[in-house]
Symmetry: C2
Subunit: 154 residues, 2 copies
């Protein structure tokens, strides 16, 4: 039944236009959750090699670090678009404080964008010590926001 | 047990550095699948309003269209980074042809990047008819690649 319904919805979406299939299968609020989690996943993917470089677990590659830092700075602008009203349920770890303390959440978000932008700027220079320092500052903005606005993993 | 193990892994990841938690919990290949699916999810999110605008389902908003087109053009550069060797299993709809016809897959990917970049460029101008035309051209690159390289939804 679910499979059948999903096919009907899918066909309607395909008739209406190719893109938007995923949205057609779930509510806008659930899709917002999926989207914002996806944006964090993409950020984490590009942080991986930078993290290993600042920890000395892989050789410093200036071009790769700069590319990834640029991508992370760009991606850091995305998540806020997904915290739409009503998207506090479903498959999310967002605490209610995201919405009840919207000003503080915005500030935490702004800090992330600011520090990732600084990292991307510094990465063009290629001074690994400066990058280590700035990578740490960026991480602090992740941590600070998670502690206040994200439920624990279990 | 799983919960307990996941906490141990998590603690190790936290000691090693804050970011990389997700990677530490799954193989690099599985994380690549998660990442590339995330990048498509983010693209689809920003395509939604553009799709509705070209179909006349919502009023044309030049700034919003241009912003989303720019984001999609940027995001279109991401997925290819996730099709790493060995990531043909797990939670993926990628056909084996992604790897066995790597040149054709690259071409399909290049087409997507090219047409999304054109859409972003055109969007600065604000001619809705031109955008409808280019949006269609972009969609064709999605469709062509999905037909050849993506397994069907069911």
């Amino acid at each position: 039944m679910l499979k059948k319904m999903s096919k009907v919805v899918l066909s309607a979406a395909l008739l209406a236009g190719y893109v938007g299939v995923a949205q057609a299968e779930m509510s806008r609020e659930d899709y917002a959750v999926k989207f914002r989690r996806s944006s964090f996943t993409a950020m984490t993917w590009y942080m991986g090699p930078m993290s290993r470089m600042v920890k000395g677990e892989m050789p410093y590659d200036k071009a790769l670090f700069a590319r990834n830092a640029e991508y992370v700075a760009f991606l850091s602008k995305l998540p806020k678009d997904g915290f739409i009203p009503g998207s506090d349920g479903g498959d999310t770890k967002a605490k209610p404080e995201v919405w009840s303390k919207a000003d503080k959440f915005k500030e935490a978000n702004d800090n992330m964008e600011k520090e990732t932008a600084k990292l991307a700027e510094l990465a063009k220079g290629g001074n690994l010590d400066a990058l280590k320092d700035q990578y740490g500052k960026m991480q602090k903005t992740c941590k600070a926001c998670h502690e206040e606005f994200k439920k624990k993993a279990d």
